[in-house]
Amino acid sequence: MFIIFFSFPNVQSINENNLPRVTSLKIFDLYIFTQCNIHSLACVLHCMPNLQEFSFTFIVEYIHTPSIDVLLNGINWQQLLTSHVPHLIKFDIHISFLTHNRLLNSKLILDSFRCFLTQYHDWHIAISQWTNFQRFILCKSKN
């Protein structure tokens, strides 16, 4: 099965049946400042079956809603990690982005990561939402 990823001007294709395997790879630090496709991430993680430490940092300005919902859902991460990197002992995740007046349902996000909290006693999660500081000052001064 071929998957084509457009990356103008390059066109890259991954043959999912012929992914390389790097069995010695134990530590993977990934910093993404553009889009992130969780399916491509799955293919890449599949290449490192003995991974022990994975650090994922994702920082963008504005992002399409469906993509970010996928990444903010802990259940997707649980499935991704257990199916491709079952020997993982350390998982760091950091996601930052801007939204337009769209409030996130923090409780929903926290709940989706509950599987991590229950399974690993040393795991913590924090969500911070910041409103535009300038707007905050404006509101305050109206009183």
């Binding site: 990823f5 990356s7 103008f8 001007p9 010695s24 790879l25």
Partner: protein
């Protein structure tokens, strides 16, 4: 009468340890002297060459003069290509000297006009290089030259990896298109750090797959994926 200990009173072993903390320029500047004992120690210790952005041309020439007698002792190089009053420092150093025992090499702030093909050939053929780092800050002015440097490093080091090399860090803004169509080569790299950068497009994480194909002995990989697409969203109230 005060009984103070002079530096020269220390035994050889202590002096060797002290000298190991100093880089070559400081060592030669401070300790070149008629004292034959110190001179003979200087002929045997391992040397670290460190050329920072504040090094002057005079200091560079002084160092180079001393390296004529000591270049086989150099095990590490940490060189800024554009210093205070001279450019193309890396080319200059490698043009004057061989470093047959070099293990670690760091190049930073590459001069856009530097010709580095011969330097890389020397590194590959004449040194048992273990670790190679390129640290290049993001610069919109000389993008074409930086890209041609990155292409050279990619071709000579990532695709034709020397067998002694284990650690590669290329902090240079490039997208490595030449890696895509390569058939499997097994290299001995155990650590790799790269930045994948393409100006007006979104690179996918899939760019990693050819890397994993080529460098199948990796133990640790550090990848940054960036682009500088212009912001499309503008409906901010």
């Amino acid at each position: 009468m005060a009984n103070s200990t002079l530096l020269e009173d220390f035994p050889n072993e202590i002096l060797c340890q002290i000298f190991d903390y100093l880089h070559a320029l400081d060592l030669f500047w401070a300790f070149t002297s008629p004292n034959t004992r110190i001179s003979s120690i200087l002929k045997e210790i391992r040397l670290h060459v460190n050329i920072s952005v504040m090094t002057s041309r005079g200091q560079l020439e002084f160092l180079s003069h001393h390296l004529i007698f000591h270049s086989d002792q150099v095990i590490s190089l940490d060189v800024c290509d554009e210093v205070y009053d001279q450019t193309n420092v890396i080319e200059y150093l490698f043009g004057q000297h061989n470093f047959p025992n070099l293990r670690s090499c760091i190049f930073w702030s590459l001069d856009p006009s530097s010709k580095l093909e011969n330097v890389l050939t020397q590194l590959k053929k004449q040194t048992p290089l273990l670790s190679f780092r390129i640290l290049e800050p993001y610069n919109t002015q000389n993008e074409d030259q930086i890209r041609s440097h990155a292409h050279l490093f990619s071709k000579e080091i990532l695709l034709d990896t020397p067998s002694t090399l284990r650690h590669v860090t290329f902090r240079i803004y490039y997208h490595y298109p030449e890696l895509i169509d390569v058939t499997i080569i097994n290299t001995n790299l155990t650590y790799l750090e790269l930045i994948f950068y393409e100006k007006y497009s979104n690179l996918s994480i899939a760019v990693l797959v050819p890397i994993l194909d080529i460098h199948s002995s990796l133990r640790q990989i550090h990848v940054t994926i960036k682009s500088s697409k212009m912001s499309q969203d503008s409906s901010i109230k």
